[in-house]
Amino acid sequence: MVKFAANNLSIWFGSKQVLKEVNLDVYANEILSVIGPSNSGKTTFLRMLNRLNDLQPNFRMSGEVKLEEQDIRKIDPEALRRLVGMVFALPLPLPLSIFDNVAYGVRMHGLRDKEKLSAKVEESLKQAHLWDEVKDRLNESAFKLSGGQQQRLCIARTLAVEPGVILFDEPCSGLDPISTAKVEDAMLQLKENYTVVLVTNNVKQAARVSDRTAFFLSGELIEVDSTDKMFTAPLDKRTDGYIRGKFG
């Protein structure tokens, strides 16, 4: 089943065109990774899916993006972002306690009952493989956690809202290999219940984790296929060149 469908999507920031006529589908319950050199448009594409690009003052688009047959421009942005969550590149805890971080999204959507909140926070932290490490200090500031812990906190925070889709924007760029492995494990487990789109600079990470891979270059989608195929026999030689590390 198709979760997202981008048709002829072009994006400009001011006079600079950042995405050119991208046609890309995201299937439900898959992990799709988006790879490419910097400035290839991959983060812009990702941020289109939860309409974070709207926040930029000179953003302009043509074409359309549909979430399950509905044009996302017609969906209220708040409602859309409840369905499509995001984990950012640098761990970005809010200046709140660990508990309040995880509970933030759910609280904003109206949940006040303390017991239900506690249950939700615990469940989300377990899903992010962080519960054991923080269960005794939920009221401490989130800034006291290590980088890897903070990133898993951000994942827990996103999961608490129960979106159907989770977008990962180079989530391991600031993390050490052990934390990276933990985040990748979490991603693989999420696949059962969520659709995951992962933008990554690390080609090997894409190979480890994703079902399909899309390769962007200078704002264009060059090729998208199952990960196995992309990494063994890509159709476009630019894809091949990038994957082998010949450029980028």
């Binding site: 939860n50 974070l52 926040l55 003052p57 942005p77 708040e78 409602a79 972002r81 409840r82 969550g85 995001m86 950012f88 640098l90 970005l92 809010l94 200046p95 933030y104 999204g105 904003m108 959507h109 500031s141 800034f143 951000c154 925070r157 996103t158 809202v161």
Partner: protein
């Protein structure tokens, strides 16, 4: 080579001189006021009404009047100023309206204080028929300190990192929720600093209250916001220029109380600002 160094030494000497020419008189002024005003300060001075045509007694009504006015000014200026700052920081775009607003703020900040007095007279005392009253005076002072509140609050709001807003929005919170729960709480020290600075300014101004509220002599305390009131700055002016033969001690004492009040408020604001910068968590 030696020549240029000599030039530098001479130049630096004059620069130091310039600095001393500012700093030393300031110090002297404060010292004089403390030295000559402190002897006048006792419980009676602070709690008694003026007596013998203000040549004796205390300054209690003036202190109370100033407190009322300052309190009234901030009740008016803080909500409007804070919301205006929120508009500039969170909602406005870089367009003509934005430039116009910023220009207006610069102008409001530069309007002479006596012109505010005229404005208060024309609008609140005469047009709205509030008469010379605490209400008119507070509103006039409130508009006068609005630029301070807006500018400092906006800086405080803008210093909250943009990434926090992005994270909040990405979780499906609305813009106002983000402001209310993430941006505002983390801007409070800066907002508080600006508020106290505004209070200090309002406490020391004379011209805006001359025609809008200040009473020459009011032995009883004001009973409502429609009453006139005495105020410290005006009182100091009156006993220095309008009433002959006032004991020097009383004049300096009044100046001391006013200066102490204003400087105390500024000191508190500076301390808050300093603590905030030290303890910033991000």
């Amino acid at each position: 080579m030696r020549d240029t160094h000599r030039t530098q030494n001479i130049a630096f000497f004059f620069l130091l001189l310039a600095t001393l020419l500012i700093v030393i008189p300031v110090g002297l002024i404060v010292v004089i006021i403390i030295q000559k005003g402190l002897p006048a300060i006792n419980w009676q001075f602070l709690t008694d009404v003026p007596r013998q045509g203000m040549r004796a007694g205390g300054i209690f009504p003036a202190i109370i009047g100033t407190l009322y006015l300052v309190f009234g000014a901030i009740i008016f200026a803080l909500p409007i100023g804070l919301f205006a700052a929120i508009y500039l920081s969170e909602y406005s775009r870089d367009n003509f309206l934005n430039r116009l607003i910023k220009l207006s703020i610069v102008n409001l900040a530069g309007v002479p204080s006596v012109v505010y007095g005229l404005f208060g007279l024309a609008l609140f005392v005469v047009f709205f028929k509030f008469g010379a009253s605490i209400l008119s005076g507070s509103l006039t002072l409130g508009i006068m300190i609005l630029p301070i509140i807006i500018t400092t609050s906006r800086e405080a709001l803008e210093s909250v990192p943009a990434s926090f807003r992005e994270v909040s929005l990405s979780l499906g919170a609305s813009k106002w929720q983000t402001i209310r729960h993430i941006v505002l709480p983390n801007a409070i020290p800066g907002i508080l600093t600006g508020t106290i600075l505004g209070l200090g300014r309002a406490a020391g101004e004379t011209a805006p209250i001359l025609f809008t509220v200040a009473a020459f002599y009011l032995p009883r305390l004001p009973a409502s916001i429609f009453d006139q009131a005495m105020a410290l700055p005006y009182h100091l002016y009156v006993i220095s220029t309008q009433v002959p033969n006032v004991d020097e001690k009383i004049r300096y004492g009044t100046a001391f109380v006013l200066l102490a009040l204003v400087l105390f408020m500024n000191l508190v604001a500076i301390i808050i600002r300093y603590q905030f910068r030290k303890k910033k968590k991000w």
